[in-house]
Every structure is written in C-alpha cells, then in structure tokens.
Amino acid sequence: MSYAAITLERITRRYKGRAVVEDVDLTLPPGSVTALVGASGAGKSTLLRLIAGLEAPDAGEIRAGDEVLSSPTRLVPPEKRGVGLIFQDFALFPNMTALENVRFGLADLPREAADAQARAWIDRLGLAERAGAYPHQLSGGEQQRVSIARALAPKPRAVLMDEPFSGLDPSLREEARAAALGAVAASGAPALLVTHDAEEALSAADQVAIMHGGRILQTGAPEAVYCAPADPVSAAALGPVNRLPGGDPTTAALAAAAGAPAGADLFVRPEGVLIASDGPVEAMVETSARTGPLRTLRLRAGEIALRAVGPPDSAPKAGDACRIALDPHAVILFGPTSR
C-alpha cells in the first residue's frame, strides 16, 4: 500500500477571535516522522487535533494527496478519516482487553480476519503474552505498545502522536521510543510527533517543525535547524543557546577573533564556546557540573554569562579562570530584525 503525503495549507484556527493556529503550511511526507516542537501553548496540540479532524479550521485546507480532508466548508469526520492517534495518557478502553482494544478499529473486517490481524499486531509489539490482560493490569510501557498497535492496526493514512512518551519513566522512554517509531516507520504512513523535548525531536525525527505563538517558524532536517536556526526562538527550541549582545566589548573581542562581523548580536550553542589557552577573552568559571557524558560550565566573561561544555576530567572547575574563544563555524547570526 502506498501512502500520500498530508499537506496543510494556510491553516488557521481561532478561539473567540484569538488565533491559536495561524497560517500554518506543513507537509508530512510518507514514511517519515515529523517532530512538531514548541513550548506549551504554542498551538501544537490544536494543530494535531485539526489534522485528526477533531476540530475544523477557520481557514485553509488539509489534504491527503489530492483528497481534501478539512476546509472551512468540508470536514471529513474523524471516524471516516483513517488517521491513527496515539495519546499521552494512552487512552486505552478500560473495559476491553489488550486484544479487544487493538481489534476495536478493525470492525469492518470479518470477525476471524480482525482477530488474526489484531493478534499479529499484538505479537509484532512483543505483547503476545499480554493479549488477554486489561489495561489496568499492564505496565505503562505495555499500555503504550497496545495503544501503538491499536492505532496502526487499521492501516491509517497518517499517525499522529501527542507527546506519547512523556508519560513513561525516563529509563523506559528510549526503548519505547525506538519500538514505537520503528513500527510507525515500517508502516510507511506519514507521522507527526508532538513533543516539547528537544532531544527527542533531534534524535527521533526525520524533519522538525518549530511552532511558536500559533505559527510555524521553521521546518527542516533536525541537524539543519539545530545548526542554522531561522531566528532566536527556533534556536532555543532545539537546545540551549548563548546570546552575546552586539555592543558589548567582550562580544567585540570574541567576534573579531572568530571572524564574525562587529556590532551584531552573536548566538552560539554551548559546544561552540571553546576553552582555549590562546583565546581572546578571560572568563571565570562559576559552576562546573558533570551532567552525563560531559561537564556543563557556567562562565562569566565581563558582563556576559555563558554556558559551555567540556570533557569530564580536563574541563576547568568552579572558581578557575580560563581563556575562551568561539568556534567560527558555530557562530549563528540573524538579520537586523532579530530580537
């Protein structure tokens, strides 16, 4: 079965006159996962509900291939749309077993065929032993796999996931994510993953879209958006970023050494701040803490506070003085309109 891309064109949704989703263009290509990233209140969940048909747009069009799913005049109801949903709270029907939950979406098939397909999905997600269990008897990870099997079993033309991993223990999350996104990718359907976890977006998605204030600010491959964000908000959405104000003498010295234009605000991610004995500027190490494989440093250079990372053993400790430079390839510049 071949899948068509889901296309959103100039989608706008207002509540009481206030636009919560405004003029959004987005394409979900088949066989790939698009991560929708943004702070809470950015309009991510509303956009997902619009694609699912749970809400109607006030303007714009949502299409699957050439077929119009949503427009202000036409709305294919959610139950006719064939869009799979995976929820943060899993939303398993409490009165049905795992198998019955998965079979729920296969009502169009004859009983035996539905049973066989549901069982195949249960097996594929490693739940063969748990098919007869009710949701309250399943662990969080198992519940989530049931909800994925349930969403994928009817062969939806798109899969929408609303923060599906944030309800899981951090220790389970990575494994669950691999299993879930593996199954979704194998299905070949276009997928949307709503998340506020930058790391999840970077590691799991084929495409990221940054949403802020109801608008999509930037869309692109994760690494491209991370390294070349379109604006400061997009930069911050995918991880911490240092801002060095243009008029500051420390900025001027660092800019000159890195070959960056003078007078402009500079943005640089922590890994672009280098501890270098020949660096142009001296900085004080205020804190230095081991955060996983690396050490995270908070530095002060003149008026500017900076965040940097360093190797766990050789990086300076709190109270040390060190010299710093900027990695010329890591400096991000925005146009004069940037905030």
Binding site: P77, E79, F87, A91, F93, F104, R150, A151
Partner: protein, 506 residues
C-alpha cells in the same frame, strides 16, 4: 402545562387567595428559608471543619454519621419531632413531672410553627451543606494552609482568612441545594402548620379545587427554585476554579486535647443526635410499643415498591440517555440537560398539578391506569437529574481522549456510545438506580395528589396518619422509608471516603 393554566386560569378564587393568603405564603417561605439557612450554616460548617481538620475522639465515626439524616425525608422527622416535643410527648411530660406544672403553666417553643418547621427541615437537610463544605475543606491545598501558618497566621486566622473564603462558593452551592429542598418540601411544612408557597399550591387545589390559582402560586415557587438553582450552578462553577495547587498530601489533622476535644465530640454528637438519632430512635420506640395494635402495612409496602420500581425505571432510562447525550458539547445534550435540570427544580406538588391539568384533557379523566402513568411520568420528570448526576460523574472521570481514540479508529456516534461510553457509565448507573428508587419511594406530594384509590404508598400512609394525629401509627411507615433511604446514604459515604485525594487507592 402549569404555565398554560396560570395564564388561562379562573379569576375569582385567585383574587381571593391573592388578597388574603398569598402574602402570608410568601412571608412564611422567606422566614422558613432564612431560619433554616442560619441553622444549617452554624451547625454544618463547623462540623465539616472539625471532622476534616482536627483529630478528636470519635472523629472517624462522626465523619459519616453526620450524613445519615439524608436518609430520612423531612416529613418523617416532622412526625418524630411533633411526637417528641408535642404537649403529650416525652419531653414536655418529663418537664411537667419534674416541675409539677400543668400544661398551661409554662411556655414551650411550639414545634408546629414556622420556626419549628425550619428547625426540622434544617435537621433533615444540613448534610447538603456539610457534604459540600467538607469536600471543599478536604480538597483545599494543604500548601495554602501551611503557607498561611508559616506567614504567622494563627489557626483561627487561617480558618477565617484562608480556608473559609476558599470554601465559600462550595458552601453557598450546598446551601442553595438544601434551600431548594426546603422550599419544595410539602409534607413537613403542611403537617407542622407552616403554610409556605408549596403548601399554598396544594391547598389552592385541594381546598378550593382551583387549578388556575394553584398554578399561579406554582409559578412563584418555580421562579424561586430556578433562582436558587442558578445560584447553586454559579457558585459551583467558581468552586471548580478555586483549586490552584494540584499537589495533594494527606491532611495533617491537628490533635485536640482536653476540653477542646471533648467540646468537638459533644458538638458533633449533638448535631447527629438532633438530626438523626433522637427522632429516628423515638420512631423505633413508638413503632415497637404499638406494634401489636398498629394497622398492617403490607399493601402499602407493595404499592411503594411497584410505583418506585416503575418510576425509577423510566427515570433511569431518561437519566442514562441524558448523561450519554450530554457527553461532548452537542446542542442536543445541552438541551437535554436544561430540561432535566428544570424538572429537578420543580417541586413535586407543582409537577402533580401539571399532570392534573393534563388529565383533564384525557378522555377518561384521572382513572386508574392513566393516573398511574401520569404519576410515573411525574416521578421521572422530577428525579431524572438526581439519577443523571452519578452517571455523568462516572463519565467525567474518563479522559476525553478515549472518545477521540474511538473516533479515530472509525467508530461512529452509535458504536462509540454503546461500546465506549456505556461501559464507562455503568459504575455510576448502579448508584443512579438506587438513588432513583429511594427518591421515588420517599416522594410524597405528587403521589398524594395523583395516586388512585387503593394505591397509597408508605409515604402517603405516614402523612395521612400523621395528619389525623395518629402519630404512633405513622411511626412504622416512616421508619420503613428511612430504612430504605439508608442504602444510598451508606453508598454515598463509602464513595466519599474513596474519592478523597490523597486517600489510599484514590
């Protein structure tokens, strides 16, 4: 129908009532509600505060004992108190024996008066205020209370400045609900000689036979009820938004010692004794004393069971439909909710009046089968809201994502209702069925006005015996009604204990 009659209704008797007794009805209603409100506030709110925030001997028992008066309808307490406090009753007899006075040598507060009726209704209905106040105190954030204490506020100041203002909307909502019940009461008010507007509706119909005049009074009653209902809904809305902290911890109850602990126990014991133990104990005493001579009740029990089963069944189907329709924000659901709520706001006497007006249009008039059908219809209209509430609560506990999941899996509205919503509603449905059965069993005015000859229920029997001053004979049917009422009350208190945030298993 009532409205229709009110507009077209005849003038002569209405003018008579309007010029003579209408002002009295209205003043009595206002006085009754005011006194009852004060009594309920000064007992229920402190009791709720004590059992939720303080530790004292018997606290755990009082927590649910204080709900029990909900089991006894107002007219049952009225019968018991008329017997207890009447001239020939044990209290005044003991007083005369102790002092040697004769009956006319002293003044004793008359129970058959507006204040007496307010006292009885407050005893029967204070649990509404107690329950909402208790729920508000339980669900308040411990953090805000601890913040107040850490900012140097004394426990007294914490109560008056932080806890009470936060609970005020909930208390007001409970009070409005209790006052709705008090204003709709017919049995106690009529028996205790406190002619309120609701009693006026009945009298205009029974003494003057004027449905039009009764309907005009009924409109005043319904307006009053809708006002109280509006207050209740408004306050409940505010109560919902009042919770700002979502972190629950078990309440750390402050231990009371010495006289204070004794005082707290005595206060709660007093409220329970007056609201339930004394009157019901008296009824048991009288019923046992007169058991050999009292008339048999078998026929009334059967009538009660048959009518309650029929009324509850119809109301149950309506309640379930209304609750399922009300899921989601569809216009049909909102309309159903409005109709159901309006029925609940209309006193039984007024609904019965509407049914009587309808019966005139029937070819056979108010004959046997038609009368019973109308009575069952009246029960259903009156109580559907009471049955819909627990079902809606069960549905609300399920996240909205379940419905969305069903939709995204291709389930249309009917399949979703049958396979997803209905199973979710079932835990509430059992409670709804029980509540509906007991409410119907307790119903007095509509049954009295509509039931055909030979169909007297326990409630009607208790009321007519009491009206004939055969108080001893009225004790047995009153007790049976109270006994039936205990079922849902125990269920309610059990549910409350489990629903408390921070409780084990919640």
């Amino acid at each position: 129908m009532v409205l229709f009659e009110a507009v077209l209704g005849g003038g002569e008797i209405w003018r008579h009532i309007a010029s003579t007794t209408l002002t009295g009805y209205a003043l009595n209603t206002v006085a009754l509600l005011t006194i009852a409100a004060v009594l309920m506030l000064i007992t229920a709110v402190p009791a709720a505060w004590l059992v939720t925030m303080r530790a004292f001997p018997g606290r755990g028992v009082f927590e649910w004992l204080l709900i029990l008066p909900l089991a006894a309808p107002g007219y049952v307490l009225a019968v018991a108190y008329a017997d207890l406090l009447g001239v020939g009753g044990p209290v005044q007899s003991a007083l005369r024996e102790a002092t040697g006075w004769a009956a006319r040598d002293y003044w004793f507060p008359p129970i058959k008066s507006v204040p007496g009726c307010a006292f009885v209704l407050a005893s029967a209905l204070y649990p509404y205020v107690y329950l909402t106040a208790r729920a508000a105190f339980v669900s308040q954030s411990v953090c805000t209370l601890e913040a107040a204490r850490s900012l140097g506020a004394s426990p007294r100041r914490t109560f008056w400045r932080v806890a009470l203002p936060a609970a005020r909307p909930a208390i007001a909502a409970g009070l409005a609900l209790a006052l709705m019940e008090a204003a709709a009461d017919f049995g106690a008010a009529d028996f205790l000689g406190a002619p309120t507007l609701t009693v006026g509706v009945f009298r205009a119909w029974s003494s003057y036979g004027d449905v039009g005049a009764a309907a005009r009074i009924a409109i005043l009653v319904v307006a009053l009820m809708l006002t109280l209902q509006w207050i209740e809904r408004r306050q409940r809305g505010q109560a919902g938004s009042a919770a700002t902290s979502v972190r629950w911890r078990p309440l750390a109850r402050e231990r009371m010692t010495g006289l204070a602990a004794l005082g707290a126990s005595a206060f709660c014991a007093g409220v329970f004794l007056i609201g339930f133990a004394l009157p019901v104990g008296r009824l048991i005493w009288v019923a046992l004393e007169t058991a050999p001579t009292s008339p048999p009740l078998g026929e009334h029990v059967r009538n009660s069971l048959v009518l309650a089963a029929a009324g509850a069944s119809v109301a149950f189907v309506l309640a379930l439909s209304a609750a399922l329709l009300g899921r989601g924000d569809r216009p049909s659901g909102r309309l159903a909710n409005t109709i159901v709520a309006a029925g609940y706001a209309t006193p039984g006497a007024v609904l019965a009046l509407g049914a009587l007006a309808l019966a005139v249009l029937l070819p056979g008039g108010l004959a046997g089968g038609a009368a019973i059908a109308l009575l069952v219809w009246t029960y259903a209209v009156r109580f559907t809201a009471a049955g819909a509430a627990p079902i809606e609560a069960a549905l609300r506990r399920a996240p909205a994502s379940l419905g969305h999941a069903a939709q995204s899996l291709g389930a249309g509205p009917i399949r979703r209702t049958l396979q997803v919503d209905l199973p979710l509603a079932l835990p509430g449905a059992a409670a709804a069925a029980l509540i509906l059965f007991v409410e119907t069993l307790k119903e007095l005015p509509a049954t009295f006005m509509l039931a055909p000859y030979g169909w007297d229920t326990l409630a009607v029997r208790a009321y007519t015996l009491a009206s004939d001053e055969r108080l001893a004979a009225a004790a047995a049917p009153s007790l049976l009604i109270t006994l039936a009422g205990l079922g849902p009350v125990i269920l309610l208190s059990w549910g409350l204990a489990r629903a408390r945030p921070g409780a084990p298993g919640a």
